[in-house]
Assembly symmetry: none
Homo-oligomer: 254 residues x 2
């Protein structure tokens, strides 16, 4: 399963090296490391660092759970301590759900992503620490960091598993660089012109007039306006306008 | 493990009923349903609906994976079809990674969360559809929805597992909690429920069948789907649905 395609998931010309390093500190289960790799690649992050993985490295269980994100696992570097794993970085974030008895800036994932973007743009090398499954990061890891990241979640039920924490951080990283519009209308079909819409409405209203729907006459303008409004809200395509012409004609029995 | 504390994770006085319903369509593994419940409660969402879960319901494997989110599983409702599961909702989003041959607005999770907030503030009842592990949502589910949600991710490696998709949508829901303005719903008219919409479509299609529009028969499913899609995009109100019933009846000359 591993290694069949070492570049799968990495688009031609992609410069994913320019993301923050994801540093898993004392991870336990290989499955979770694999799930983290998948979440990272989902978000265009490929630099994974492992601090003292309990079950050694490489770990075939990680590969099985990575769902094809082999490129991340194969590049993963292993270190003995968090200090070594972050030695070449110049900005370190520590993800932790628990408030610490420590004066430290606390960022949301969104703010943390923006901070990483601007540091990378300025030539910096940021990284994000994630604690192991059992106890998360220890104070020594947090102290080493520049700031803490906390995910705003249900305060009564905020515990995330490792891969989900990586996913949320990676998601915000990807969103902070994405120019995806908030709303898009896909399809090869082109929107109808106002002229096409109006021509349909004219025909439609004539059919309604003929069938007696626009009654009493004093209400006709309101009925027409409401029907136009309804169809215009849908953002009709030209193909849909043609279909609607057919519908009216057919219902009238012609 | 299950049921020891039925209110764990729900803060005193919390009104989590006011979130969008999370509808899992044809989910397969109980473990994944449990992981979804955990992700939902992380994000303050407690209304889960299941459409035809493959392994029946309740499912002890779901409880084992829910990590204490029992309150979500215990309230979960089971339905046979997506239409039944959404009948009382008035705004339905379909999460899908695949572009469909269908003209439909596409929202990011962030925009979708804002839309749900606005609708709930206006008294609406939104829900979000998630497809099963194997093949995701089918076209019939997507056509039933008002809009599609796509998560902007690495285009070469965008596949998320079920619980991660739920987590990202829930995360944006939770983040949107603070600064989303209430929507202005003009007039006293309220959005039609899916049940009202579906009832109209049934009548409409029967009239089209009778008038010979659904010809040739092999094209009928596509024609019906496109018409449903067009009207669902408009976000029909209940008054408009009544008007459309009248339009069809009148055009048929009855």
């Amino acid at each position: 399963m591993a290694g069949t395609d070492k570049t799968r998931g990495v688009p031609e010309g992609a410069d994913f090296g320019q993301g923050p390093a994801v540093i898993l500190v004392a991870p336990q289960l290989g499955e979770n490391i694999g799930a983290c790799a998948r979440a990272m690649l989902n978000c265009g992050l490929i630099e994974m660092r492992l601090v003292a993985p309990r079950d050694g490295w490489p770990n075939p269980k990680a590969t099985a759970m990575a769902s094809g994100a082999d490129v991340v696992l194969e590049r993963a570097q292993v270190f003995e301590t968090t200090a070594e794993a972050t030695a070449d970085l110049d900005y370190v974030l520590a993800t932790t759900a628990r408030p610490r008895d420590m004066v430290k800036a606390v960022l949301t994932p969104r703010a943390a992503a923006a901070e990483c973007r601007s540091r990378i743009a300025g030539g910096g090398r940021p990284g994000i620490l994630f604690g192991g499954e059992r106890s998360g990061l220890v104070n020594e890891d947090v102290v080493l960091s520049d700031a803490v990241v906390q995910v705003p979640l249900n305060p009564s039920f905020s515990s995330l598993n490792l891969a989900q924490a990586v996913l949320l951080m990676g998601y915000e990283w990807f969103q902070s660089g994405s120019d995806t519009p908030a709303v898009a209308v896909p399809g090869s079909d082109s929107p109808a012109t106002v002229e096409q819409r109006e021509f349909f409405f004219t025909r439609f209203e004539a059919a309604l007039e003929e069938s007696g729907f626009l009654f009493p006459p004093e209400l006709a303008p309101t009925i027409k306006r409401n029907l136009r409004n309804l169809f215009n809200r849908a953002g009709l395509t030209d193909q849909e306008v043609r279909t609607l012409h057919g519908v009216v004609k057919s219902l009238r029995g012609r």
